[in-house]
Symmetry: C3
Subunit: 342 residues, 3 copies
């Protein structure tokens, strides 16, 4: 491979974005405010034990301490410049593979950092859409690091913002990022989840469970109940909410109980015509998709992976609390449950 001259981007503006933990997303414009920029992000890799369900402990690996990693937002033709930090307290090598990037194994080939190292990668976001990023340090480390939580999403908005199925501009009032992960936590002979001293100790058993392809947990945002109760998402009747949903490894099928996908980019790529009126959509393992919904009724909604075993028993459920006025034209309880006279 010939050596390439460094790109001269000295005339481009730079902007630094502070990443925030999911389901929230850092401040951003929906329509690009001007010419392409270099957008700077910084992420630190954190290895840590996480209680993903009561009594079930994952030897987790994370971007910035959260599962999933934070969502980045840029516009098409912006340059993403990421500083990736692997603190000395970690045990393992890590890197990052951006599905939005071109070449170099998505950046994975250029960002492999040992504990105590950092690196800076820049790539041009030439295609719009929601794209997964994840750790991919080589060989069996790849599925293991992903199954340990090292997956996030970047959303590359078209410079002019989103468009509907007729090409008309569309905006969202809120955006939530829901990262679905499945875990493979080993059990002992009695059927109890095993707990490990560190990530290294957990590897052989975890690998064995992984190779059976059946997860012990399927969760949103890193743990059973991470987006329910006090941590439920919120919205108001009349608001358009963009739900970005990623899965780094295993297929899933999001569904909003009592709602729909008004405009769904199932593959997540905004140059394609969105599907309308969907009850359930499909996220291919290793991708992120986006669904826009305008809430029309108040109440508590459940947003689930509609394999209902995975949703309810294994953990893949979020809640959305929606305020506003009920519309009896759309739905009415004509006769409440009443005892029948037999």
């Amino acid at each position: 491979t010939p050596v390439a001259a460094p790109a001269d981007l000295s005339k481009l503006k730079r902007i630094k974005r502070e990443l925030v933990a999911p389901p929230f997303v850092h401040e951003h414009e929906q329509v690009a405010p001007g010419d392409p920029r270099i957008v700077e992000f910084e992420m630190e890799i954190v290895e840590k034990e996480i209680e993903v369900d009561r009594g079930a402990y994952l030897q987790g690996m994370t971007f910035n301490g959260s599962i999933p990693g934070p969502m980045m937002v840029v516009h098409q033709d912006d340059y993403v410049e990421l500083t990736l930090i692997n603190p000395a307290r970690n045990m393992l090598q890590h890197n990052v593979d951006f599905h939005a990037a071109t070449g170099g194994l998505g950046g994975g080939a250029l960002t492999l950092v040992n504990p105590g190292e950092k690196t800076v990668l820049r790539f041009k976001a030439t295609r719009s859409g929601t794209f997964v990023y994840h750790c991919a340090p080589g060989g069996p480390m790849i599925p293991w690091h992903v199954a340990a939580g090292m997956v996030g999403t970047i959303m590359v908005l078209p410079r002019e913002g989103l468009s509907d199925h007729k090409g008309r501009p569309v905006t969202y009032d809120r955006v939530y990022y829901i990262g679905e992960n499945e875990f493979y936590i080993p059990k002992d002979e009695k059927g109890n989840y095993k707990r490990y001293a560190d990530v290294g100790e957990s590897y052989p058993d975890t690998e064995e469970v992984m190779n059976g392809l059946i997860p012990s947990h399927v969760v949103f945002n890193g743990a059973v109940g991470a987006l329910t109760g006090d941590k439920a998402l919120t919205a108001k009747v009349g608001e358009k909410v963009l739900f970005v949903h990623s899965q780094g490894n295993r297929d899933t099928r999001p569904h909003l109980i009592g709602g729909h996908g008004d405009l769904v980019w199932e593959h997540g790529k905004f140059s394609n015509v969105p599907d309308r009126d969907l009850e359930t959509w499909f996220i291919r393992g290793g991708s992120a998709g986006a669904a826009l919904y305008e809430f029309l009724q108040p109440g508590l909604y459940a947003y689930v992976n509609h394999n209902l075993i995975e949703a309810v028993n294994l953990g893949a459920t979020a809640h959305v609390k929606v305020e506003g006025a009920w519309n009896n034209d759309l739905m009415e309880q004509v006769v409440a449950p009443t005892e029948m006279i037999s």
Copy 2:
């Protein structure tokens, strides 16, 4: 939530539809005959043991006694008014969540009926397409009731009927409703299927099998062989048949051996452009899709879930007997199987 005034629908016409057991569908017009109507349906919940394969007994739960529940047909902007009856002889609470409905957990929040109760729900069918309905009584009851058979489909036709990829009107000569369900029937230590006294007794073992995510049976219309032999579907060369296919929980991939999908609404939503010429299509768990095919050759067709293990060994096969004249231009046996001279 503010209290809403009841909707005044007193000027709308009402029509009552008698539901019929799948794969058949109640009488209906493809193009709406006039203004939106209130369409009345009644369903009774039936808990009962079902032999889903020789010697394999499911503690089933059903809408109207069939798995899947009956298909309802209305037109976009019609109002669906369902009377849901839970007879006193049943053991459990049930409800109904319509993916076609807006708010109130699809109606699930307003229809939870104890044994001996009934309720009436009305919702407006604002979006066209095929949509799953299912029982969703809360917590682990949700996947269990669905896996026990409580899933059906409503088809909301555009008022002007279906259209092809160019927006031209399309009609069907027959419609069949194929509901795919997977069951998780526990085995004893010898590997024989266990049989239970009642639905309650079956719960703990069934839950355990369910959480392993691997079904014991994958069937069309409630049992192995429910749509083969004497119960095969029928059609004639030159007829256009609409196959509506639902799966309430687990993904599937319908395929018609020797045929195709001429127009396929994989997500089932008729406002989207249908795909053409498909060999195999994909139904996301928790959705219903539709495929239109004009038969061009006579013979016995198999309609399968093209995970062929699920189709043949676990049960997901239907047959379609098609009458008409063979067309040697499309296919010809040039040389019948013959011994080679070596």
Copy 3:
């Protein structure tokens, strides 16, 4: 069924194509050179033991000795005329079901050959796209023969060649055929893969593993490592490569690490508008899809099933070696991994 007169195709030109082993594809024109032709192919069925991973032996069944079977290429409205040979040294009956064909179980009803027999089938390729063909000899033989390797693909090109999302002509510089298969190799009590004297002896154990739906191996082109190292695919920066990907039984989700799908026919049917910019696409079990990508950066790419456990641990990884000049505008290592001063 009335008896049909044989079709008179005596005025059509004939051309004989020599099949080649995947990932390569026999010589062909992208735009049809004239009127529809009869395209002749010959395939021999080979039963043989195959080492699919170190120490893991499959009692394989193959079309022409390769897994997957060779890819055939014709144009829409051409006639495919296949001579299918089952040599006397084989143990089992076989046939072929073409998803591209109409009627007769895709030809399966007309081609069932015993060891020592041959047959000739002709069908008209009325629909464009990539379509699976596979053995389907009836009952539990169907999933078993497919899971033993008897799957291939035919690509039916539009007569005018491929078109993009705006209907503009598109050509490819190279085409590779990647057939993904999953195997279900039984283990003994110690967890070691069992080896069998012949295909018949392997049947009962294999059937039992198959019915659990969890494969032991998921591979491209018949074995772990069949498309890596010396056998990696090759391309050059600026070349457009068409990747045709089949899976005869089980869903998969191809992804090119560091690349994209510029134009993806996920269902594989060319009359539909291709999706753009995809990170990952989805092949329904029992179908073949196609993705076109113009390589923009040099390097070693991995092409994977993005269930990374299946890709890395179970085998579904290929490599693509791409030559050319690196483009620092698309990606640049701004700061190589460096020790941090703490």
